[in-house]
Amino acid sequence: MNRTNELIVGLAVVAVVTVITWGLFAVGDNMAPGVTPFSRDVYQLHMIVLGIVTVIGILVFGAMFTSIYLHRKSRGAEAAGFTHSTKAEIIWTVIPILILVSMAVPATRVLIDMEDTSGAELDIKVTGYQWLWQYEYLDEGISFYSALDRDSNAARQVKSGISPTEVDNYLLEVDNRLIVPTNTRIRFLLTSADVIHSWWVPALGWKRDAIPGMVNEAWTLIEEPGVYRGQCAELCGKDHGFMPVVVEAVPPEEFRAWVANRKSDRTAEVTATSAPAGDADVRSTVMNR
């Protein structure tokens, strides 16, 4: 009788917990799958692990609330005397280990893939500054700075009186976007000129710290043309929240045309890159010509 009761109530409780959990997933935002093979792998890993912990959670909380419902003094429940069960303890040690192994295997595979930065067709050096980014296309000799765009910058001043909703892509737009070709294996070399920053575009599936005195590597291969937005992810001072990353992926032909166009402007570029470091706005104006 006791066991039948526990089973019936248990099923009901699990049903309720499942509905609540489903509601929490339904109303909220989730990670986006992104536009690179790696970002999709990460998304899948995220969903696998999220799914596993959700099922575990429903079962564990289901058991607990079943007990809370049934085994209460007000229902006349008498306390049992057991304090130990070797069998149960072996089960709930071994099963979690097996589940963990099943998570670790795909995670290891994806990670090995991520860390292999060989075979790059394009090298881009990213340098973090307080509070803008510098992009250098190492083989093409192109270099420019990328800072928060003017509209966002005006609106984000304290009590600016400009509503963020009136600014397109508030805080997620820059003066000079990073232009990259689609379907091309791109290697990023990240470093910093002052403090630690972190270069992050969620659609690419990773972030990597830009650290002074170190060069970090990461790679990507963007499959769909589009504009992908992100932000600095490592606290880097007062304007940490105001150094967005905007990547514009274009088909390879278009990218080659853009490169040729930039190169014809080469003299101007050289003057600009050797200009003394100053106010971010001055630099980006120079680059914008």
């Binding site: 935002d29 003094k73 991520m114 304290v158 403090v195 990773w206 170190m214 929240g241």
Partner: protein
């Protein structure tokens, strides 16, 4: 024992009154009270800072504070909550309860006990005074990562000094707890008869002694880099900024467990009491705690997967971190098995303990997700992380502290707290805290970085929800302060055994517990202990 003799003599001396009583006290109960009151004050100070943060984040755009001050608030909120609210609360609970739970007369080193408390108010006066200095409070996050942390003004030196004081206080507190537990147990109180709160604190104290000096070393290197031209963390001088992160998190990860292991202990006291059933799997609880403590030393780099570690390092730290899920899972299963076929009632301490089990487990789940390195490349430094550590620290550590406060308040004051207000406080807090922190998972997954004062409009809705939850949660804690004050001032007389199902030595002394308990050590056997494992 000389200690006992001293205390017996003390009964005949006039005790100092007023401020002097509290300044010079060497009594573990009074020092415990000092710690707990201090902790509650710091909880309100740190909470006020959180209110400023949530008010600024209520909607996009900068309405209230400038970004520099916002960064000072996030930094100070963390330092005050970690070192001022959570850690002193646990030390206060240990001071009050450990001697009574093991049948000892007091802490083993009473004068050092006094000093380790009285360092704290000075440390926090120094820390908080930086808010009023020309260069402002530290604004580089509580982790103080160089080179950013070295950019600040001279208030930095005050921050370092304050951290040193807090560290010295913690180390002395830890030494005292270890000395007490190992030396002052009553006859018959064998190690495997000790209540779990005592066990978890014993292990925590060893963690503290191991890692607080590491923090002291790390911040001293920052100090010399800033003022004495060393280059420990300066790449231009041959140093390495990432080395700071390794050293810091070698302290920082055990620190996380310092803030949760005693919470495990409190919950393991409360659940058996209100389930009227002895703790399930006592021995495995002790071993699980010890395993978690050991693992805490070999997982530090999971806080820094994005710094560009070699593949082997990333794999090692991922696997080691995932393993922590096993002993943590054992604890959760044991708590639920303790409830299973018990005879439960749901007074406020039990409600907080149940909420702890559910919400801490949710924090554990997101922790497991964060361990998966490729996925961490997305989660890292987003609001997903903020949600994760607030689930383990607020609904974990803080809820456990509140559960403990309600559980032992009648023993401390001799009065029952107002059960109706306690229940209101519980439901209000639990609903508000989930409205506050659950949406932050969504924000992180949608791509909102942490530590930003302003955000893109796509994050506006959930930030507003989170802020509303934040204000409601903050308000609920003022009710908690009122409940405590009300309980101290009066209320229904509490019996010695406050809770029907309570076992353990602390329930054999009158309520309120007299200043000196167990001057004559009690004889302990399995009939009085809270836990009896059939294998042990």
């Amino acid at each position: 024992m000389t200690d006992t003799t001293l205390h017996t003599d003390e009964h005949h001396h006039a005790r100092p009154k007023g401020l002097a009583r509290w300044l010079f006290t060497t009594n573990h109960k009074e020092i415990g009270t000092l710690y707990l009151v201090f902790s509650l004050m710091m909880f309100i100070v740190g909470g006020a800072m959180a209110m400023i943060i949530r008010a600024e984040l209520f909607q996009p755009g900068l309405q209230l504070v400038d970004p520099e001050f916002f960064n000072q608030m996030t930094t100070m909120h963390a330092l005050v909550m970690i070192f001022g609210a959570v850690m002193p609360a646990f030390v206060g609970l240990a001071n009050w309860m450990v001697p009574m739970m093991i049948g000892g007369p007091d802490m083993a080193l009473p004068r050092m006990n006094n000093w380790s408390f009285w360092l704290l108010p000075f440390a926090f006066v120094i820390l908080l005074s930086t808010l009023f200095m020309p260069s402002g409070a530290p604004a580089s996050g509580w982790t103080l990562y160089p080179p950013l942390s070295l950019q600040g003004g001279n208030s930095f030196a005050f921050v370092i000094f304050a951290i040193h004081l807090m560290g010295i206080s913690s180390i002395m507190g830890a030494i005292n707890i270890i000395a007490t537990i190992l030396n002052l147990r009553a006859p018959g109180m064998t190690l495997l008869r000790m209540p779990l709160f005592v066990w978890t604190w014993l292990i925590t104290a060893f963690l503290l002694i191991a890692v607080m000096p590491v923090l002291a070393g790390a911040v001293t290197m920052l100090l010399t880099d800033r003022y004495f031209d060393t280059s420990f963390f300066n790449a231009a001088g041959g140093g390495d900024p990432v080395m700071y992160q390794h050293i810091f998190w070698f302290f920082g990860h055990p620190e996380v467990y310092i803030m949760i292991l005693p919470a495990f202990g409190i919950i393991s006291e409360i659940i058996p009491t209100f389930a009227r059933k002895r703790l399930f799997g006592y021995t495995s609880m002790v071993y699980a705690t010890a395993s978690i403590a050991f693992l805490s030393f070999i997982v530090w780099a999971h806080h820094m997967f994005t710094v560009g570690m070699p593949l082997g390092g990333e794999l090692f730290f991922m696997y080691a971190t995932m393993v922590i899920a096993v002993p943590t899972g054992i604890k959760v299963f044991n708590w639920i098995s303790t409830m299973w076929r018990g005879s439960m009632t749901f007074e406020t301490p039990m409600l907080f303990a149940i909420a702890f089990v559910v919400l801490f487990t949710i924090g554990g789940f997101s922790g497991l997700m964060l361990a998966i390195v490729p996925a961490d490349f997305q989660y890292h430094d987003t609001y997903f992380v903020v949600a994760h550590f607030h689930y383990v620290l607020v609904t974990g550590a803080v809820f456990a502290i509140m559960a403990g406060a309600y559980y032992w308040l009648p023993k401390w004051t001799g009065h029952m707290y107002d059960e109706r207000l306690g229940k209101i406080h519980f439901w209000w807090s639990t609903i508000a805290v989930n409205v506050l922190f659950f949406p932050q998972h969504y924000l992180g997954l949608a791509g909102m970085p942490r530590r930003i004062p302003d955000y893109s409009v796509q994050f506006a809705d959930w930030n507003m929800v989170s802020s509303i939850g934040g204000f409601a949660f903050g308000l609920a804690q003022l009710l908690f302060a009122w409940i405590v004050i009300k309980c101290v001032r009066g209320g229904e007389q509490a019996p010695a055994r406050v809770w029907e199902g309570a076992r353990g030595l602390e329930w054999t002394v009158p309520s309120p517990a007299p200043l000196h308990t167990f001057d004559e050590p009690p004889q302990v056997d399995d009939s009085v202990t809270a836990h009896k494992d059939q294998l042990a």
